[in-house]
C-alpha cells in the first residue's frame, strides 16, 4: 500500500524512465514487494524522499532569516540619491555647507545640539574669521574660577564649541515630551543610510498619516523613521529660511543643504582625504608599474637564456 502511494507521487521523469525501461509489468511486480533488494528504483526513491525531507526541515528550522521587527518597525528604506559630494573626486560644495549651517542655526539648533563642532572649524571652510567670531560672541560661556572661586560668564571665542540648546538630557526630554533630540555632530555616520536617510526623513512627512496608521498624541507619522512614529514634527517648509546667496529655499533645497552640512560635521576631513587618496593611488600606480618594469628588466637574461645540452660524443 505504501509502495503504491509512493509510486503515485513519483515525479513525471521517474515515471517516464520507468515506462521506458520496462512496461507496466515492472510496476506491478514491484508493487508486490517480493524482490525489493533487486529494485534500486525504490531505494533511490526512498533515499531521495528522506533527503528532501531532511533538507527541507533543516532549511525550515535553520535556513530562514529571522526578522525581529515588522516592516513598519524597520522603517521605509531611504531613496538612493545621487549625492555630488559622495563621488570619489568631489569635495563638499562649500556654498551648500554655508547654507546648511544657516539652516541648522535657524531651524535645527532650537532642539538639536552640535556639541562636537567648535566655532573655529568653520573658519576657512564656510565662513570668514570675523563672521565666526561674531557668531561665537553671541553665546556666553563659563570662565575659569576666579580668585574667589566663582565662575563668571564671558563671550564665546573661536575655540569654544557650539553650545547645546538644553542644559542636559533630562531638560531636553522634558521640553520635548520625553523624546531626546539626538546630537547632530555625527548623525550622518550614526544612522543607516546616512545622507539618504536624513534627507528622506526631513522631506518624507506626509500631509496626514495614511489610513489605518495609528499615531499617538504628540507624535508624528514619518514612514522613514523606524517605527513610523517620530516626536519631531516637520520643520522644513518652503521659505522657512532666507538664503543670503539668493538660492530658493524650498524644502528639498534646505534638506539637501543641511544634510550636506551634517555630512561635513561628521566628516570634516573628507575633502583632504579624497585629495590625498587620489594623489597616493596615482603615485603608487606609477611605482607599481616601475616595479613591474624592473622585474622584467632583471629577469630578461634569465627568461631569454637558452640552455643546450650537448652530449659528449663517444669515442670510437
Amino acid at each position: 500500500m505504501l509502495a503504491r502511494t509512493v509510486l503515485r507521487s513519483v515525479p513525471f521523469r521517474g515515471l517516464a524512465r520507468q515506462s521506458l525501461n520496462k512496461t507496466s509489468s515492472r510496476a506491478s511486480s514491484s508493487a508486490a514487494g517480493a524482490e525489493s533488494a533487486s529494485s534500486p528504483f525504490h531505494l533511490t526513491l526512498t533515499a531521495s524522499v528522506a533527503t528532501a525531507i531532511a533538507l527541507g526541515s533543516a532549511t525550515y528550522l535553520y535556513g530562514q532569516e529571522a526578522f525581529a521587527m515588522t516592516p513598519a518597525e524597520e522603517g521605509l528604506h531611504a531613496t538612493q540619491y545621487p549625492w555630488e559630494h559622495a563621488k570619489w573626486n568631489k569635495t563638499f560644495d562649500h556654498a551648500a555647507l554655508r547654507r546648511g549651517f544657516q539652516v541648522y542655526r535657524e531651524v535645527c539648533a532650537s532642539c538639536h545640539s552640535l556639541t562636537r563642532v567648535p566655532w573655529r572649524s568653520f573658519v576657512g571652510v564656510t565662513h570668514t574669521v570675523d563672521e565666526m567670531k561674531a557668531f561665537a560672541e553671541e553665546n556666553e560661556y563659563d570662565t575659569e574660577p576666579n580668585d574667589q572661586g566663582e565662575i563668571e560668564k564671558r563671550p564665546g571665542k573661536l575655540s569654544d564649541y557650539i553650545p547645546a540648546p538644553y542644559q542636559n538630557e533630562e531638560a531636553a526630554r522634558f521640553a520635548n515630551g520625553g523624546a531626546l533630540p539626538p546630537d547632530l555632530s555625527l548623525i550622518v555616520k550614526g544612522r543607516h543610510g546616512g545622507c539618504n536617510y536624513i534627507f528622506s526623513l526631513l522631506t518624507g512627512y506626509p500631509d496626514e498619516p495614511p489610513a489605518g496608521a495609528s499615531v499617538q498624541e504628540g507624535m508624528n507619522f514619518n514612514p522613514y523613521f523606524p517605527g513610523t512614529a517620530i516626536a519631531m514634527a516637520r520643520v522644513l517648509f518652503d521659505g522657512v529660511v532666507e538664503y543670503e546667496d539668493g538660492t530658493p529655499a524650498t524644502t528639498s533645497q534646505m534638506a539637501k543643504d543641511v544634510v550636506e552640512f551634517l555630512n561635513w560635521a561628521a566628516e570634516p576631513e573628507m575633502d583632504d582625504r579624497k585629495k590625498m587618496g587620489f594623489k597616493a593611488i596615482t603615485l603608487l600606480t606609477g611605482l607599481f608599474a616601475l616595479s613591474v618594469w624592473v622585474k622584467r628588466y632583471k629577469w630578461a637574461p634569465v627568461k631569454t637564456r637558452k640552455i643546450v645540452y650537448s652530449p659528449p660524443v663517444p669515442r670510437r
Partner: protein, 76 residues
C-alpha cells in the same frame, strides 16, 4: 622597451667618464634634488587637476563673496 631606460642610466658606468654616478656626492644630490623637484611638480599638477574637478565648490572659490574687500586681505 625594458632596456631603454636602464641603458640610458647605466650606459656610462663602466668607463670612468660617468657623470651622474661617478661621485657619490653628485649622485646623492641629484637624487634629493630630483625628489624635491618631482614633489613640487606632482603636487602642483594634481592640485590643479583637483581644482578643475571641483571648480566652484571649494571655499577658495566662494570666499571672495564674504571677505571684506577693504582691510581683510590677510585673514583667511
Amino acid at each position: 622597451m625594458a632596456g631603454a631606460l636602464a641603458t640610458s642610466i647605466y650606459q656610462h658606468v663602466s668607463p670612468p667618464q660617468s657623470t651622474l654616478i661617478r661621485r657619490n656626492a653628485v649622485y646623492l644630490t641629484s637624487i634629493f634634488a630630483g625628489a624635491f623637484a618631482f614633489e613640487v611638480a606632482y603636487d602642483t599638477s594634481t592640485n590643479k587637476l583637483w581644482d578643475t574637478w571641483n571648480r566652484g565648490r571649494q571655499w577658495k572659490d566662494i570666499k571672495h563673496q564674504y571677505l571684506n574687500k577693504a582691510d581683510e586681505e590677510d585673514d583667511e
